[in-house]
């Protein structure tokens, strides 16, 4: 058995599965670092997956290979618009952020399929897209045995996801914007007293969050599923929240956690291919990623410290 090949395939699949989670958990990071709980990542991903699929569908005949890019960008825009009500509710109206997020999840699930049915003549999913992102091999590097296939032969969105991790790290920890963002999430009153506009900051963060989560959603419909249905996202937004917490609200940590979930997913099919199902019931293999997560959380990570003001609406008038 060629273990190198197996490992190479595993890494390759892991990256595919992790991409959406990386985007979405980074999205969660912006919002939560600013103090706004974002349980609506799921809904934002759904909107992204939907918009990405529909816009690509609309342009695939006229634009060909560029259509998925249009879909991808449109998804980002749609996501940040969709996030707006969450910002309005939780920042301006000081609503319970969890409740508002739950509302958005419901809205996304309903609205996306409602619109799909209207656009696609009653069908519960979009037609299969003829053009989606294709894997892109980095010239030269992808020739490296094993490693090439594992890392340098991926969807363009996967590369973008890793770039987004770096950019987020830089923005959040190196720039004035990041310092302000974090101050607003840790101690909004302190930020306010030095003249930072807490509300504006949080609006911005929530909208960035919507954009990134939606990009994550779009990577699913534009790479792995090639269509959009009620099941396209199916809980990955929640897994992204888990990744964010797991990664202690740090971009690299969130990425690590997302890769961990990706590995667990990828292992699922590998285990079956090697016939381990004769010894272990399939159901246990399906459980694996989730059980592993719980064990790792309980065993290694333990208490994680959220931004201090997370979930607390900021009220200028209160003390």
């Amino acid at each position: 058995m060629d273990w190198g090949l197996i490992l190479s395939n595993l890494v390759h699949d892991t990256i595919v599965f992790s991409t959406a989670l990386i985007f979405a958990s980074l999205g969660g990071l912006y919002s939560e670092r600013s103090g706004v709980v974002n349980i609506a990542l799921e809904g934002m991903m759904i909107i992204g997956a939907f918009t990405g699929a529909v816009m690509t569908y609309a342009f695939q005949d006229s634009l060909g290979a560029w259509a998925p890019w249009v879909g991808f960008i449109a998804a980002g825009i749609a996501g940040s618009i969709f996030a707006l009500p969450h910002a309005v509710a939780s920042v301006t109206f000081k609503a319970d952020q969890t409740v508002s997020g739950v509302a958005l999840n419901f809205l996304a699930a309903g609205l996306s399929i409602y619109l799909t049915k209207i656009i696609f003549d009653g069908a519960g999913q979009t037609t299969t897209l003829s053009t989606v992102f294709n894997k892109f091999s980095i010239p030269g590097l992808s020739e490296i045995p094993y490693i090439g296939h594992a890392i340098f032969e991926a969807y363009p969105t996967s590369y973008l996801a890793f770039i987004a991790v770096f950019v987020t790290w830089y923005v959040v920890f190196k720039t004035p914007f990041g310092l302000r963002l974090r101050s607003v999430g840790e101690h909004p009153r302190a930020a306010d007293t030095v003249g930072i506009n807490v509300k504006r900051m949080r609006y911005t963060a929530v909208m960035i969050s919507g954009m990134l989560a939606a990009l994550g959603g779009a990577t699913i419909s534009l790479t792995t599923t090639s269509n959009f249905s009620h099941n396209t996202v199916s809980g990955q937004g929640f897994i992204a929240i888990a990744a964010l917490i797991f990664g202690k609200w740090h971009p690299a940590g969130a990425m690590g956690a997302a890769l961990f979930f990706g590995v667990a997913q990828a292992i699922k099919s590998l285990v079956q291919i090697f016939g381990l199902t004769n010894y272990i019931p399939t159901e246990f293999i399906f459980m694996l990623p989730y059980v592993l997560t719980i064990l790792v959380m309980a065993g290694l990570v333990g208490r994680s410290s959220a931004p201090a003001a997370l979930g607390k609406p900021y009220d200028t008038g209160s003390r």
């Binding site: 609503a95 739950v102 409602y114 209207i118 809980g235 929240i241 399906f286 459980m287 989730y290 959380m297």
Partner: protein, 357 residues
């Protein structure tokens, strides 16, 4: 006591009421945008639910599990925990009641209660896992309960496949008649709608919720720990034990829900390819219901009526039933951002005042 009174005070009644109206209006706008006639659609929805005894009975059937999962989420909320795992707890409740219902031969007076109890305990323990991990290891209960939802789903399939599903079938054997909690005479009155004792148990569960939390020593501790764990620790309460306990009770409600669904509706358990959705809907129910037991019942009724009626809307008016999710989402949204609702309520209140003069 005054908390309960507060539930009925004007604003807390008006806000959800207006939120519901705004939600329905939002739905109407979405329908108009989609080229549908909202009046026809809503009429169809109402007609579906209230048009026949059968459908009315089925609506009640639909409402029942939502009360349970709503209570499961609300109870945890009251104790400072977010129980996103009602879905998994519901499922293990189903497993346990199926196991007891199929495996034993007992007089009905023992069998059915035992099967429900099994569901309650299983759901409770499932919830308690998340509670324990939070208490002992500080793991965020949101993550664990999300994960446990999936684990429960596959666990259910494994248990059924390995022990309860006859070869070539996809559903378990039927539970014994003695474990079935269908109410025959009532079902007959409602044209064979699947009515069962679970509905009554749900109402009793809500009362239990209220008494436990606001009338007992345990409830005092649970609320105290939920609101301020540091002060509770200082006051000599065992914070960790209370976290586990809170998740146990939360899970218990969901577990009973799962059990009554098996014993009252299906009478067997099928292989599941997806979650039941009751657990997630329970979050919405709890939130719309303001995390109070009475509010949960009202919200479950609203939720049940809308979702059951939605298929009538689709059938007769051609409106995709997902629209109703948009309506529900808007209701939750307006309940959350009651500041927005107050903008609408203010003129009403003002007018009332003027009218009174």
């Amino acid at each position: 006591m005054n908390r309960v009174i507060a539930v009925f005070t004007k604003e807390s009644f008006l806000v959800p009421a207006v939120a519901i109206i705004l939600g329905l209006l939002t739905g109407a706008i979405a329908m108009l945008a989609g080229g549908f006639n909202p009046v026809d659609a809503y009429m169809a929805l109402i007609k579906k639910v209230f048009g026949s005894a059968y459908n009315f009975g089925e609506t009640i059937r639909q409402i029942t599990p939502l009360i349970f999962t709503g209570l499961a989420v609300a109870f945890a909320f009251r104790t400072g925990l977010f129980n996103i795992g009602a879905e998994g707890q519901f499922i293990v409740g189903m497993i346990a009641s199926t196991v007891v219902g199929v495996s034993f031969d007992l007089p009905a007076i023992i069998h059915a209660p035992l099967a429900i109890l099994a569901g309650a305990v299983a759901g409770g323990l499932w919830g308690a896992i998340a509670g324990y991990l939070k208490a002992a290891r500080g793991v965020n209960e949101v993550i664990t309960s999300i994960m446990l939802n999936w684990v429960a789903l596959y666990l259910a399939n494994w248990v059924m496949n390995a022990f309860f599903i006859p070869a070539g079938k996809q559903t378990s054997e039927e539970v014994k008649d003695s474990a079935i909690i269908t109410i025959g005479w009532l079902a007959e009155m409602f044209d064979n709608a699947r009515l069962h004792w679970g509905t009554l148990i749900a109402v009793l569960a809500a009362i239990f919720f209220y008494i436990l939390l606001w009338k007992t020593k345990s409830g005092f501790e649970l609320r105290s720990v939920g609101l301020n764990p540091h002060a509770s620790e200082y006051a000599g309460m065992n914070v960790n034990r209370n976290i586990v306990k809170a998740m146990f009770f939360g899970g218990m409600f969901a577990g009973i829900g799962g059990a009554t669904e098996i014993l009252g509706v299906f009478h067997y358990q099928a292989i599941m390819t997806q979650h039941t959705g009751y657990g997630f809907d329970g979050i919405a129910v709890a939130l719309i219901g303001g995390n109070t037991p009475f509010g949960v019942i009202l919200a479950a009724i609203l939720f049940g009526v809308l979702t059951f009626g939605a298929s009538g809307m689709q059938f007769s008016a051609g409106v995709p039933f997902e629209l109703i999710r948009v309506v529900i989402a808007s209701v939750i949204f307006f309940v959350a951002a009651h500041g927005i609702v107050k903008i609408f309520v203010k003129p009403i209140l003002k007018k009332k005042k003027e009218g009174g003069n």
